[in-house]
C-alpha cells in the first residue's frame, strides 16, 4: 500500500521546478508510505547517448567506476553522482557493452534504469529524507513519477521499492495489492524475465516488459493487464514522452488528478496536489476504472 504521484508539465517555463514540485507532492504521502521512496525524472538527453542510473553500496567510488568504463569503451563517460546513485552517459550502441563491463568489474552495482531521458532513484526512508539525499528539488525535466511505499507482503528493502523499470525510458509505480502475481511470475520466469523480490509490483513491471518485448505497444500492454492481472491496482507508468494511468475495474484504491493549462498531475490523495501552482483553478477529476489514460509531449 502506498502513495503515488505523477507530474506532466505542459508549460516549458515550469521545467526547472519539476523536481521541487515533485518533492512537494511526495511529502504529504509519508504516512501512507513510510517505508521507502522512489521517483523517476525525465530530463535532458544527449544526442546519440543513453543514461544509466546506477545504485551502489554506501561509499562506492562512482568516479573511478566511470573512469574504468571510459577506458574500456574508448569514449569519455561522464558521471553525475547523487548519494548512493549515479548517472553515467554512454553512446546508444554501447549500452549493452557498458552493462557487461559493469557486471564484470562491479557486480555489486545495480542498474536501476536506463533511457535517453529517464533517471531513476529509490531508497529506504521517508520522502523528505530520500528527496534530500538525491537533491530532487534541484532536478529539472518535463515529467516525473514518484512513489512512497508501505510494504504489504514483502520486505522493506531497496529492491522492494518502486519505481520498477520495465524498458528503456519506462518505469512503473503501483498502489494496491495483486492477488495472482505468484502465478504470473512463474510464467514470466519461464519466458526469460528475471526477478529479485517477492514483490507484486515487480511482477506487474515484468509483465509489461514481457508484453513490450513481444512487440505490443504500451497502451495495448496496459489494456492486457486488465485481463491477466488480478487484484486491486492503480498503475502510473512513466514513458519517454509522458505518463499513463490505469485503475483496475473495481477501483477501490483512491486516485485524484488535476489539470491546468500548465500541467497534468496525479496523486493518490488530493493532499499531494495542494501546493501545485494555481491548483485551486484546475480541473479536478478521478480517472475512471478500467480505462487507460495517457498524456504525452507533442514534438
Amino acid at each position: 500500500m502506498c502513495g503515488i504521484v505523477g507530474l506532466f508539465l505542459k508549460d516549458p517555463k515550469l521545467e526547472p521546478a519539476l523536481g521541487a514540485l515533485l518533492a512537494g507532492m511526495l511529502f504529504p504521502l509519508s504516512e501512507r508510505g513510510p517505508d521507502s521512496t522512489g521517483f523517476a525524472v525525465y530530463g535532458n538527453s544527449r544526442d546519440g547517448h543513453s543514461k544509466l542510473t546506477l545504485r551502489g553500496p554506501v561509499g562506492t567510488d562512482f568516479g573511478a567506476l566511470a573512469a574504468q568504463i571510459t577506458n574500456r569503451l574508448g569514449d569519455v563517460v561522464p558521471v553525475v553522482r547523487r548519494d548512493t546513485h549515479a548517472v553515467v552517459s554512454v553512446p546508444n550502441g554501447q549500452v549493452n557493452e557498458a552493462r557487461k563491463i559493469l557486471s564484470t568489474i562491479a557486480p555489486e552495482i545495480t542498474i536501476v534504469g536506463t533511457g535517453r531521458r529517464m533517471e531513476l532513484y529509490k531508497e529506504v526512508g521517508l520522502p523528505s529524507e530520500v528527496a534530500n539525499r538525491f537533491e530532487l528539488a534541484g532536478m529539472a525535466g518535463t515529467h516525473a513519477i514518484g512513489h512512497t511505499r508501505m510494504a504489504t507482503e514483502s520486505a522493506v528493502t531497496i529492491d522492494g521499492a518502486h519505481p520498477y523499470s520495465t524498458a528503456p525510458d519506462q518505469c512503473l509505480v503501483h498502489n494496491g495489492s495483486l492477488s495472482n502475481h505468484n502465478s504470473v511470475r512463474r510464467e514470466l520466469i519461464r519466458d526469460g524475465i528475471t526477478f529479485s523480490t517477492e514483490n507484486d509490483t515487480e511482477v506487474a513491471a515484468g509483465y509489461l516488459t514481457w508484453r513490450l518485448r513481444h512487440g505490443m505497444d504500451l497502451n495495448t500492454a496496459l489494456q492486457a493487464t486488465l485481463k491477466d492481472l488480478d487484484g486491486f491496482y492503480t498503475f502510473v507508468v512513466g514513458t519517454e514522452s509522458g505518463f499513463g494511468v490505469l485503475r483496475d475495474p473495481i477501483a477501490c484504491k483512491p486516485a485524484v488528478m488535476v489539470e491546468t493549462e500548465s500541467y497534468v498531475a496525479f496523486g493518490t490523495e488530493y493532499r499531494a496536489l495542494v501546493d501545485l501552482p494555481d491548483v485551486e483553478h484546475g480541473r479536478v477529476f478521478e480517472p475512471e476504472p478500467a480505462k487507460v489514460y495517457f498524456w504525452e509531449l507533442r514534438h
Binding site: 500500500m1 502506498c2 502513495g3 504516512e31 501512507r32 508510505g33 513510510p34 508501505m150 504489504t152 507482503e153 498502489n175 494496491g176 495489492s177 486491486f232 477501490c252 484504491k253 483512491p254 493518490t268
Partner: protein, 444 residues
C-alpha cells in the same frame, strides 16, 4: 446357486475420503442446491495448544508459592495512542458476538460476568444495545464492514473501538444472519426488513487497504478526541503481514482470531477450509511486533479455541498480551448443555454437537431470538456462571505461571514450552520435547 458357506465374509469398509459425513453432505447439497450454513468454529482436529507442554520448575528453576506469592494477571490495553487506555484485571476478554446472533439475555449475562471479574465484553455485527452498555463495565465497540447500528453516540459511550477486518471462522467473509433471527428489534437496529436473510459486505464501504485504514483510524480518533484505544481485528491468514500493517496503520491493539474461532453463521466450507489454526498464527504475529519494536507497546489479543487456563498460559507464553473467548463463554452460559438432550435429539443432533445456531432454535436460549427460548437463560445466573469460569481460567493460568517461577503471567515465555508433535514445534517455534530441535530453525 452354489453354496457360499465357505467364502469368508469381507467386512464392509467405509472410505476415509468419502466418509459418512461427506456422503450425507453431498446428498444434502443435491437436495437443496445451497451450501450448508452453520455456526461455531472449525470442528476438525487441528494442531492446537494441547500439543504444547510447560516445563515446570525443578532444580534449575524455582516455583512461586501458590496463594501467597503474587502472580499478577492485569493487562493495560491501548497505551500507544489512547488518552484513556483500559485496564483489565485478567488476561481474558469476551469477544465480539452480536445482539441478533445472541439473545439479549445472553448479551446481558456476558456483560454481568465480565464485569464481576473486571474484564471487557465486545459488541458484534449489529450495534450496541443499551443492556449491553449498562451491564458491562468495559465495552469494546466493533466497527465492521456492514456498519449495522454504527453511530457516534454509541462510539462515545464505548471504552474502546475494534475495527474488524475479519474473523477466524471466515477471513475474507462478511456477517450473516438468517431471516428467522431478524426479529423486529434486530431489524430495527440494523435498518433491515424483518425476517429477510441478511447479506453483509465483506469489505468496509469507505476504505480498503492499510494505507487508507490509517486515515480511517485517524478519523475515529478525531471523532472521539483521541480518548479510546483502537483495536484492529483480523482472521488468522497472513498474520505476520497483517499485524505489521495494523501497526503501521496506527492500531493500539491487534486481535488475531484463528480458524477455531466461532461464528453465529457462515458457510461450512468457509469455516473448515479458510484461515489457519490459532497455534500457527501466534508466533508470526508476535514476530511482526518484535521486528517493529512494538511487542508489548501494541498489545496482541489472541482468540480461536481458548478453552482452559493452560490455553491462556500457552498463548501468553508465545507472546500474546491477552486472549479472547467466544465459544467457551457461551458454553459457560449453557450452550450445548446435556440437560436439553431431548430437545437436541428432536432437532436431529445431540448435546455437544449442536451447531445450527443460524436457525435460532437454541434450546439453551443463547443463539436465538425466540422469546420463549431466550427466557430460559437467567442473565444473573448466567453472569455468575461466566464469572466462575473466567475465575477458573485465571487461577489455572496463575497456577501454571507460578509453577514456572513467574510473578506475572506476562513473564511466561516461549522457552517455558516444548512440543509433542513436529507440527506444533514448527508452528510454535519451540523444541520437540526432550530435544533441542525446532523444525525449520537454522542452528546458529
Amino acid at each position: 446357486m452354489t453354496a457360499q458357506a465357505n467364502i469368508p465374509p469381507i467386512p464392509p469398509r467405509l472410505s476415509a475420503t468419502f466418509d459418512q459425513s461427506t456422503l450425507a453432505e453431498i446428498r444434502r447439497a443435491a437436495a437443496t442446491g445451497i451450501y450448508d450454513i452453520r455456526g461455531a468454529g472449525a470442528k476438525r482436529k487441528l494442531p492446537h495448544f494441547d500439543d504444547l507442554l510447560f516445563l515446570g520448575a525443578s532444580i534449575s528453576r524455582y516455583p512461586l508459592e501458590g496463594y501467597r506469592e503474587k502472580c499478577g494477571t492485569d493487562v493495560i490495553l491501548g497505551g500507544r495512542h489512547a488518552r484513556k487506555p483500559i485496564r483489565i484485571k485478567i488476561p481474558i476478554t469476551i469477544t465480539g458476538m452480536s445482539f441478533g446472533s445472541l439473545s439479549a439475555q445472553a448479551k446481558e449475562a456476558l456483560g454481568r460476568g465480565a464485569s464481576i471479574v473486571g474484564t471487557s465484553t465486545t459488541t458484534g455485527d449489529g450495534g450496541m444495545t443499551q443492556e449491553e452498555r449498562g451491564h458491562s463495565s468495559l465495552l469494546v465497540y466493533q466497527y465492521l464492514p456492514s456498519r449495522y447500528g454504527m453511530n457516534p453516540d454509541d462510539i462515545r459511550k464505548a471504552d474502546a473501538i475494534e475495527v474488524v477486518v475479519g474473523q477466524g471462522a471466515k477471513p475474507g467473509g462478511g456477517g450473516m444472519l438468517l431471516g428467522q433471527k431478524i426479529s423486529a428489534r434486530v431489524a430495527a437496529m440494523r435498518v433491515l426488513p424483518e425476517g429477510i436473510d441478511q447479506r453483509s459486505a465483506c469489505r468496509h464501504p469507505d476504505w480498503t487497504g492499510p494505507d487508507d485504514l490509517e486515515i480511517k483510524i485517524h478519523e475515529l480518533r478525531e471523532i472521539t478526541d483521541w480518548e479510546k484505544p483502537i483495536y484492529v481485528k483480523v482472521g488468522a491468514s497472513r498474520p505476520y503481514y497483517d499485524v505489521a500493517l495494523a501497526v503501521k496503520a496506527g492500531a493500539d491493539v491487534v486481535v488475531v482470531d484463528g480458524m477455531q474461532g466461532g461464528t453465529a453463521a457462515t458457510q461450512e466450507v468457509f469455516i473448515e477450509h479458510v484461515g489457519i489454526p490459532t497455534l500457527a498464527a501466534i508466533r508470526p504475529a508476535v514476530q511482526a511486533l518484535q521486528d517493529l519494536g512494538m511487542h508489548r507497546k501494541v498489545q496482541l489479543i489472541i482468540s480461536g479455541g481458548i478453552r482452559n487456563g493452560a490455553d491462556v498460559a500457552k498463548a501468553l507464553a508465545l507472546g500474546a498480551d491477552a486472549v479472547s473467548i467466544g465459544t467457551a463463554a457461551i458454553a459457560a452460559l449453557g450452550d450445548n448443555d446435556p440437560i436439553y438432550e431431548a430437545e437436541y435429539q428432536a432437532l436431529g443432533t445431540f448435546a455437544g454437537a449442536y451447531d445450527d445456531w443460524q436457525d435460532g432454535r437454541d434450546p439453551a436460549g443463547i443463539t436465538t431470538q425466540d422469546p420463549a427460548l431466550a427466557a430460559r437463560l437467567d442473565p444473573v445466573l448466567g453472569g455468575r456462571r461466566l464469572a466462575n469460569y473466567l475465575s477458573v481460567l485465571t487461577l489455572e493460568a496463575q497456577t501454571i505461571a507460578r509453577a514456572c517461577g513467574k510473578s506475572h503471567v506476562h513473564n511466561l515465555e516461549p522457552e517455558d514450552l516444548v512440543a509433542l508433535t513436529v507440527e506444533a514445534a514448527a508452528m510454535a517455534q519451540v523444541p520437540l520435547a526432550g530435544t533441542n530441535w525446532i523444525p525449520g530453525k537454522r542452528e546458529s
